[in-house]
């Protein structure tokens, strides 16, 4: 089984072979690891590789994403098997085009700082969401122009709610 595992923009080809109960040969850039991975409780694996033992927590995050916690370090990785690559590629195109800014958490919109047509810079505040008694700035992921504002002040929004769309097409001032 071949998986394309990606971190941000970089990605690596991983060849995975199950060779026994909870036993895998994992090949990354031509180097093969024999991995003994047992999972108990909720996706907290005990992993033994070449004698070394790691306790590794793996959480699915979205359709192809995984949050992996290893030795106090958190990695956000994506994995698609080769048959799914085209799909993923398509996803990429979208990701590089218009950016739909979504709510990262449920909360109340206390301020909307932009309107349709506004030019915005990456990192510029688009709106402020209050959750858990804290005001959280939601910023623009890219330079561009606001093409849609779905959020209104006072709205209560759930995680994943579409708030603002920014189009890199319109050049920033």
């Amino acid at each position: 089984m071949i998986y394309e595992v990606s971190e941000g923009k970089t990605s690596v080809r991983v060849d995975l072979q199950q060779v026994g109960e909870g036993l895998y040969d994992v090949t990354i850039d031509g180097r093969t690891l024999r991995i003994d991975a047992v999972r108990s409780g909720r996706n907290v694996y005990s992993v033994i590789e070449g004698g070394r033992q790691w306790e590794i927590s793996v959480d699915e995050n979205g359709s192809h994403g995984f949050d992996v916690l290893v030795a106090g370090r958190l990695f956000h990785l994506g994995a698609v098997d080769e048959r799914r690559k085209l799909l993923a590629a398509a996803g990429q195109v979208v990701a590089e085009g218009k950016q739909t800014v979504e709510a990262r958490m449920p909360g109340k919109i206390v301020k909307v700082s932009v309107a349709v047509g506004d030019a915005v810079r990456e990192g510029q505040s688009l709106l402020v969401v209050e959750a858990m008694k804290m005001e959280n700035d939601i910023t623009s992921p890219i330079d561009g122009r606001v093409t849609e504002v779905a959020a209104r002040e006072g709205d209560t929004v759930e995680t994943g709610a579409h708030l603002v769309v920014v189009d890199p097409g319109g050049e920033a001032p």
Binding site: L16, Y24, I28, L33, R42, V44, I56, V58, R73, A131
Partner: protein
């Protein structure tokens, strides 16, 4: 001693107070909002009463209702914990009028200390050093003028504020207007009062606070200091006791100042005087917290004194059995606040169900949890899910234990600040003990530079991602394959059909 105490709070501090009650043989009555019926503080309580809908303003902040519940269930005293009603001057009055003991100082003391402006004036009279600033409530114009005069950096604060809400640091005059606006809106949202005041900002400040205990018989002692300089957005994240770069002389002078402050206002109960200390060892009164602090546990660790039990005994009229010369510092303690938030995405709150919860153990470890496996963390309340405190014979041992304990701590279902704390415990500046309140902003803004061990970790992360993806896809495939097969409901149907066939053959 009281027979029953009502705890007007939730989460880890409610659990903490219930524990104190149980150790004193006192019944603990909890209150719970609609979303807290199954919360840990309810499970640990001897009695529990609903107090309203999820929104705090409709439940935990409904002072009259809380007092009525206490009266109805026969509680002789109310412990407010921290946050919620704990520093509302009218609440102790309300309790007194209902004939219920409020575990804490009087309403008058709260009003004096609760309003930062009055507090500064009072401390000034008591001879406690304070930071230069404008004490009267200001219009935006007046504020801007004052700032132009004394010049930045200055700190804008909410008069009714606390816990960093409504606080803004202004390093350039151009930021003043927006800073004032945001500060007022936050102040209004958090305290229903948009009064602001302004102070000169102390450079390289360290946040050092003194814990005091005062009984109803005029005895006041201090339990030494805590350093709380590791802050994010003026929220304490990591605290330690004793403080770094502390001298016996400075400790004595700060202790005396805190005791003087308490005496001046006729303080009763446990309280904390917060100071800023600059590199020259000059200290300035910041504010007094007239309640138990989140970080009280590190003082308990180095003194052996159970502060919450002391609060209850004091409220019951007992004399302090402790004297200043009978308390001492034993070793070093560090607290890491575990928040339900995602350190990777700007510490955004991360509510959800706690699916797995494995706390660290062994020597020198204390965990105060507000959750358990199966508990829900909601967006309605403070995102702190646990406090991890480690103790050691010295600071290095306390840090070794913190690093060790964080690596054992497993929380699944919600994101937590555990990885952030692990990073702090690796940071040379923290290990040196040489840092100020700018520590996080200065050193932890950027991603950590990759090192060898990070690369090994990454390789394992990539491998496990492939394995997890494979397991998931395999699972899906098997479920799909299983569907047609003759198991469960399918089998019933198959049996039905066979029966019909047999019938047909008759």
């Amino acid at each position: 001693m009281f027979k029953k105490i009502l705890i007007a709070n939730r989460g880890e501090i409610a659990v903490r107070i219930i524990r104190a009650c149980h150790e004193l043989g006192v019944k603990a009555a909890a209150i719970y909002s609609d979303v807290d019926r199954d919360a840990l503080h309810v499970r640990y309580a001897d009695e529990a009463y609903p107090c309203g809908p999820a929104a705090a303003a409709e439940s935990y902040l409904k002072a009259e209702r809380v007092v009525e519940i206490a009266r109805a269930c026969g509680a002789e005293a109310i412990h407010p914990g921290y946050g919620f009603l704990s520093e509302r001057g009218f609440f102790p009055d309300l309790c007194r009028d209902a004939g219920i003991v409020f575990i804490g100082p009087s309403g008058d003391v709260m009003r004096t200390m609760g309003d930062k402006v009055t507090a500064r004036q009072t401390m000034e009279k008591a001879g406690v050093p304070i930071v230069p600033g404008v004490t009267e409530r200001l219009s935006d114009e007046a504020a801007e003028r004052w700032i132009r005069d004394v010049g930045p950096p200055v700190m804008i604060k909410a008069s009714a504020g606390g816990g960093g809400k409504g606080m803004r640091l202004v390093r350039d005059v151009s930021e003043v207007r927006t800073a004032l606006a945001r500060a007022r809106s936050e102040a209004r949202a958090s305290f229903g009062d948009d009064g602001l005041y302004i102070e000169k900002f102390v450079e390289e400040p360290r946040h050092v606070e003194i814990q005091i205990l005062a009984d109803t018989h005029g005895h006041v002692i201090h339990l030494f200091e805590r350093e709380c300089s590791v802050q994010r957005r003026h929220q304490k994240v990591i605290e330690e006791a004793p403080a770094n770069r502390m001298t016996p002389d400075l400790r004595a002078r700060m202790g005396e100042a805190a005791v003087a402050a308490a005496r001046t206002v006729g303080y009763v109960g446990a309280g904390t005087c917060e100071f800023l200390v600059n590199p020259k060892g000059e200290f300035y009164f910041l504010e007094m917290n007239t309640r138990v602090q989140v970080e009280h546990a590190i003082t308990e660790a180095i003194t052996g004194v159970d502060i919450v039990k002391q609060m209850i005994k004091i409220a019951a009229g007992a004399r302090l059995e402790l004297t200043q010369d009978r308390v001492g510092i034993n070793g070093h303690a560090i607290e890491a606040r575990i928040y339900a938030e995602d350190p990777e995405s700007n510490f955004a709150p991360s509510p959800g169900e706690v699916l797995l919860y494995r706390v660290p153990g062994g020597p020198g470890i204390r965990v105060d949890s507000g959750v358990f496996a199966g508990a829900r963390v909601t967006v309605h309340y403070d995102p702190m899910v646990a406090k991890l405190v480690t103790w050691g014979r010295d600071r290095p041992e306390a840090i070794d234990r913190m690093r060790r304990a964080l690596s054992e701590f497993v929380v699944k279902g919600i994101k937590t600040s555990i990885p952030f704390h692990q990073r702090v415990m690796r940071h040379p500046k923290f290990l040196e003990g040489h840092y100020d309140t700018g520590f996080i902003e200065t050193y932890l803004k950027d991603r950590e530079p990759p090192d060898a061990s990070a690369e090994e970790a990454r390789r394992m992360a990539i491998s496990l991602t492939a394995i997890a993806a494979w397991a998931r896809d395999k699972g899906r495939a098997e479920r799909a394959a299983a569907a047609p097969a003759g198991t469960g409901p399918g089998a019933w149907k198959a049996f039905g059909r066979r029966a019909q066939m047999r019938g047909g053959l008759r």
